[in-house]
Amino acid sequence: MAGAGGQAAVLEVRDLCVELGIGGRWIRALNDVSLTIRGGETLGLVGESGSGKSLTALCIPGLLPGNARVVGGSIRLMGEEVLGRSEAELNRVRTRSVAFIFQNPTTFLNPVLTVGAQIAEIFDLSPELLDGTGPGARLSRRARRRRAWLESVEYLRLVRIPDPERIVRQYPFELSGGMQQRVVIAMALARRPHLVIADEITTSLDVTVQAQILSLLADLRRSVGMTLLLITHDMGIVAQLADRVAVMYSGSVVESADVRSLFREARHPYARALLEAVPTIHGSRTIFQAIPGAMPALSDPPAGCRFHPRCPRVLAQCATVRPASVLTGPGHTVACHLYGGDAA
């Protein structure tokens, strides 16, 4: 199911605008965000905290917090509009179409249910996941229970949990952080979603465990053709896993390109600065360049291009006109006046 579409767009976000209600007024938090993810592809969404990357992701399964509202744009999942759907329809999207993996597995997992019971619950909610897998369209209740349990073990095996027959009977607190995150990934895959959204899923893990999870994700992309929206602040993770990259700054996508073009020839001054601010383990020590200043507060953003007060190549119009995204190469878009983004 996932990845069956090949080159068809699984997710298409167009000109998404979101406002947050803070202190009695509405503040623009996302400005014309556009993203496309094709089947089997991994899109890395990068930016610093407050850039709007998590907010963008939350809009997809309709999980915006109560103080946020969508004021424009469209989100199409497998060709169908998600915005404006009823809560019941959104629940359908959440259970089957989009799987969200959050940073902290302990808050996601139910502490009083065994791992197996939590995965089996998915099959209770979506019995068609089991019916479709074997002969005999309708299973008895008992046979279904049995099948659900066996499937749970298989999904734990898929995420390379050692000794899954034992782990499936354990409670989340008996597992380490890395194991818990694997369980959450297994739960995401069990739903056979069209799209998996992973929001900073290795941030709370140690580097050696993070390496295990990253190589697991790389394998899953191949073995189950997972379509992945990978949200991270770590340029290293993006370089390792993503096919395409979108860089966000202060509520806008400032550049998007395939991963090699972005790392070889980033065009937006922020994207370039972000790459230069990342120290590398092998590289020389001198390429370590700091970006002056900090990301502006959403409540009081600068006019024009929001990066202009920090930009080393600022032009006159940057302070007044917000640059539009323009295509500068195959699949490479940049929102910067240096590349002619004059409109909007």
Partner: protein
């Protein structure tokens, strides 16, 4: 002078007793720091790196007398910390300052930056009176690249990067000789991290400071340090000059840590997960070499005998029965991008 170390640590041990129940007195011990030796030469940056639970922060707490060691010796500028009392403690606190990870926790939410900066200057007797202290506070705030106007503000009125700069300004205002940096940038974004690290490097150069940098972030340690020690479950498993450690590590754990880091270059080889499983609990330590259950190269001897930290090349120490095994072995098939 340059040869004498600012800080000497020998046989340092810190065990925390563990009581699971009120009446159960012998539930066990957390062996947080379990025999650590190192020296920090003057004017250098010594990096202490390891994953969570390896004991690096406990080392920092022991070094500044926030905890008392179970055993071992810590000497600052040749003077043993165990015996000092009263005035000598104050003198020591002027000499050694700490910058902790979380600037929220290091600043009183109801104290203005002005009083946060003045307080240590008066308590430690660096400034004679409030006026002098204020002059010095302004000076140190400007030194870290902030505007003196900021002194009137409360912590919540500052950004994360500004708060961390204030904490650095406060640590440096008493003119310490040694600064302990415990995860100084792990709470800030990458662009701010770059600013803070360049600032720390510049301040060190200008004021001839000595740093002890504690971090889980190998890249930060690589960028900042002259000498690096890798800790695992309470012990140093490898110690070498920074360039040597990152290019020619001898301990399989160091190799695993280094190859775990995702390189920000799509053409670079993928991360390799060379360490199996998770860090075990420091309450029930594995027998023999503590790393053996996770080590892909472990032999029977590793289960039985704990290898001591030995100097294998000038200035390069490692605690492994088969040093360099990870580099000699064929690389474990990296899992990652195909084409």
């Amino acid at each position: 002078m340059t040869t004498s170390p600012v800080l000497e640590v020998a046989g340092l041990v810190k065990h925390f007793p563990l009581r699971s129940h009120l009446f159960d007195r012998r539930a066990g011990r957390v062996r947080a720091v379990d025999g650590v030796d190192f020296e920090v030469p003057a004017g250098r940056t010594f990096g202490l790196v390891g994953e969570s639970g390896c004991g690096k922060t406990t080392v920092a707490m022991l070094l500044v007398k926030l905890l008392a060691p179970t055993a071992g010796r810590i000497a600052f500028e040749g003077r043993d910390l165990a015996g000092i009392r009263g005035r000598a403690v104050r003198e020591f606190r002027r000499g050694v300052q700490v910058v902790f990870q979380d600037p929220h926790g290091s600043l009183d939410p109801r104290q203005t930056m002005r009083s946060a900066l003045i307080e240590p200057l008066l308590t430690l007797g660096v400034a004679a009176d409030r006026a002098h202290a204020l002059d010095r506070a302004v000076e140190s705030v400007e030194m870290v690249g902030l505007d003196a106007e900021l002194l009137r503000r409360l912590p919540h009125e500052l950004s994360g990067g500004q708060r961390q700069r204030v904490v650095i300004a406060r640590a440096l205002s008493v003119a310490p000789r040694l600064v302990i940096l415990d995860e100084p940038t792990s709470s800030v974004d990458v662009s701010v991290q770059a600013q803070i690290l360049s600032l720390l490097a510049e301040l060190k150069r200008r004021q001839g400071l000595t740093y002890l940098l504690i971090s889980h972030n190998l890249v930060v340690v690589r960028y900042m340090s002259d000498v690096v020690a890798v800790m695992y479950l309470g012990k140093i498993v490898e110690m070498a000059g920074s360039a040597t450690l990152f290019t020619a590590a001898l301990h399989p754990y160091s190799t695993a840590l280094i190859s775990s880091i995702p390189v920000p270059d799509p053409e670079a080889p993928s991360v390799a997960a060379l360490a199996r499983g998770d860090v075990p609990s420091p309450v029930r330590l594995p027998s023999g070499c503590r790393y053996h259950p996770r080590c892909p190269y472990a032999e029977p001897v590793c289960r039985e005998v704990d290898p001591p930290l030995r100097e294998l090349a000038p200035g390069h120490h490692a605690a492994c029965h088969f040093p360099g095994v990870a580099r000699r072995s064929a690389p474990v098939a990296p899992a990652g991008r195909t084409g």
